[in-house]
Symmetry: C2
Amino acid sequence: MKSVKDYIEYINASFDAMSYPEQPRGLYDPIKYTMQCGGKRLRPMLVLAVAEALGMKPEHAVRQAMGIEMFHNFTLLHDDVMDRADMRRGNPTVHVRWNEATAILSGDAMLTMASQLMGNCPHDKLHEVMSMFNKTAMEIYEGQQYDMDFETRNDVTESEYMYMIRLKTSVLLGCACAVGAVLADASAPVVKAFYDYGLSLGLAFQLQDDLLDTYGDPRVFGKKTGGDILNDKKTFLLITALDRADVRQRAEIESLYGKRSDDKVSRIKAIYDSLNVGEVCRERIAAYIVDAVACLDTIELSEEARAFFVNLAESSSDRKS
Amino acid sequence: MKSVKDYIEYINASFDAMSYPEQPRGLYDPIKYTMQCGGKRLRPMLVLAVAEALGMKPEHAVRQAMGIEMFHNFTLLHDDVMDRADMRRGNPTVHVRWNEATAILSGDAMLTMASQLMGNCPHDKLHEVMSMFNKTAMEIYEGQQYDMDFETRNDVTESEYMYMIRLKTSVLLGCACAVGAVLADASAPVVKAFYDYGLSLGLAFQLQDDLLDTYGDPRVFGKKTGGDILNDKKTFLLITALDRADVRQRAEIESLYGKRSDDKVSRIKAIYDSLNVGEVCRERIAAYIVDAVACLDTIELSEEARAFFVNLAESSSDRKS
């Protein structure tokens, strides 16, 4: 097994070495720009690490690792157009740097390129890899649609929220793990166990994102905290707070919807603190990490491989950015 | 072989019978709406007719026929967002009837659903079908990018224009024919001959579109004519006119760029008429139809099948809408 740092370097080097057609530049430049803007590379790392843990050389899974990452970046690119987000990873988004038509079309091309990368595998694996990939893609669109639907609702339940992040975020981590396992010729139960590991990891990961957006250290987090609160985003924290709030607290939260006043973040945070929702969220994250590690126990793995996936899960709750 | 009318009915019935998940409605309703808005169904008809001409039951190619049509409608949906078009086939476009985020996301889902439909074929055909489909998709995005690039250029050459419509329009007709042939177990030369037939048909088809936009009968054409002229679209007619124009005519055309005056269409049409560009376009269409029919001559076909494809090609230059 490689270290996390070495996997990231290998993935970045693979994208740097990827060749694109020269023309039309208006189509391919934004794709290069997007793929070279970095990111945690968590999803491709999962493809490579699972394949390697099951005895396969990572080179034989690198195209699918890149395909999953290309797909992930396509969804971010189109989400940024839909959300009118100006910045991503410290850089202007594609629709800001170029224009909206370019962002839509380049994103479309990234989805097809992702499909091409996924399909660049042995013919006897093609059907399973493509079915998994396409099914996951559909689930992610559904998740994005629910997320948008939630913007205009103030009665989102915790279970609706968990279902939404399962679709929007977690299934891609599950798919990444499962594709690595399929490529390495794993049995169906092992593919399933790795899928479930990725799913639990994804839920922990998204809840940690929610937590960091409110409680992160802005110097380490890389962007201003409090954005979710300002935008009335239906996060785990807000939904938990509404569940636990008394009449007065609920009224105060509701009175702040749609406002962008200076003290909105601190007032909502004070309610969160009095209701202990940060701690509830941290406990939930810990529970999903326990779930993820439990999935590993059903798989025969070397000590080294097991340690890699346990560390990866545990570090997702330690991360500060 | 079925008649054109029967193929269209079969395709429409197949889309009507297609089942979509119940939820989230915001994602699936626009897709149903788009797929039930009709259209000429030319591309899926080509898949079915080629498969049937080569001895295969059309039922065994219907999913790929639907996949190609779903893909085509996805490109129209996203193009309409990029072009800010309000109407399509007499109905409000998705971004007008819903909103832009919905149009982007539903389009993304249509691309993945198209990929699922294409991949729903015997495993030994999967690699070839998906490679063809994905390669064609990339070419179409390139064509759309060139088309957008041409908007801000006044020096587009005829060969650049023909290359653009080859990518944006023709390759999908070629791909539709080739996929039908691959499914029916055709040899490589037959696949290639059908691909080339579709390509020439597509070029004729797009030039006929250019012609109808200026010279069509608005009552039959289904929308106002002159739109391309008003929008300074770099069509075959405009490029040919600029090629043949004298200094005075060129100056008049250029003086009207960006204008939307009442007499713009009639003034440009008068130049077109004096330079005979309608006739040049009609001759070119006839030449592509000859090319298309010549491709058929290399394929062993029943009289009935041959007649079907010859008629289809010839009717593309007779069509009024």
